[in-house]
Amino acid sequence: MTATLAAYTTSTGEAFQFWVLGTIAVIGALCTVFMKKAVHSALCLAGTMIVLAVFYLANGAYFLGIVQIVVYTGAIMMLFLFVVMLVGVTAADSLKETIKGQRWLALLCGLGFGILLLAGIANASLKDFAGIGKANAGGNVEGLASLIFTKYVYAFELTGALLITAAVGAMVLTHRERTERARTQRELSEQRVREGRYVPPLPAPGVYARHNAVDIAGLLPDGTPSELTVSRTLRERGQIRDVSAEALNDLKALEQRAAERLGRTEIPATFKRTEEASQ
């Protein structure tokens, strides 16, 4: 009786690992859903996937644990990040609800579904627990290989066809045929002159002594920032840093210091006292 009980429970170390990493996995999943920016969601999901890889290793699925890290966090999540980078300009969700009450209904559906699923698992009779030790006796990878190339060989062959189809499909979907000739530099400059706006090159971004980064707008003579000086991508993302107020404050401070140095204002009390003491 005790032997079966011992086989049915795992070691304390694994229990500790489960509770700590399981918490991290759930927090990562929640962050994936509730983070506003897609990049943050992707990073949280990558964290959850790494935790799941550790769980695979703990469950004796050594091959799958490594594949999880290499394929999921290494390839798929990086693909996600690339697409977020491509689509990034409007990646932040608008928080306006288009369907009234959809969010609360969705949460309610999720809650009901979760209760259903958890109750189903709780009611299932999961009494027999064999442990993976015997199946892994000849090595995990060898065991998987002998199954894949005998029992599941047709599914494995079909997987190859699926992967080729997916690769071709992705290429077809993202490939764009150029329907018109690219305009030459001469034609572009002629068009600029004909339109009569911005005939010279666009002005450069901020050119103060302290700020020459590309995301800082250059200032017009009256001190207001000029949108034209910043790249269109940054403008659309709203990533322009405005330092015009800072520059004006710096100038004011400089003028005040210069005035103090030149003695145009009355000398502060501390200075006066030292002068009197020296006399």
């Binding site: 969700d93 998987l144 997916a166 993202t174």
Partner: protein
Amino acid sequence: MNPVNYLYLAALLFTIGATGVLIRRNAIVVFMCIELMLNACNLAFVAFSRMHGNLDGQIIAFFTMVVAAAEVVVGLAIIVSLFRTRHSASVDDASLMKL
């Protein structure tokens, strides 16, 4: 600890992913939530494989991973081409076929 806890965790992650699919409207995040659901299923398969003491569950999880990789490639290509034509990755905007 009872290994059934892995199943509870998988169910929880699957539920969070499903809720995310319903709540979010950014197509990329919806896609990530689908990946989360697939991963939760994989965890359940691996836990079942350990409970039953054979490797079939791990084989199924392996095939799920392959299919997920193919699905991600095609799905992200669709999102990129949608974004090119509509300049938006929101799933609410893609209502071109609506009357």
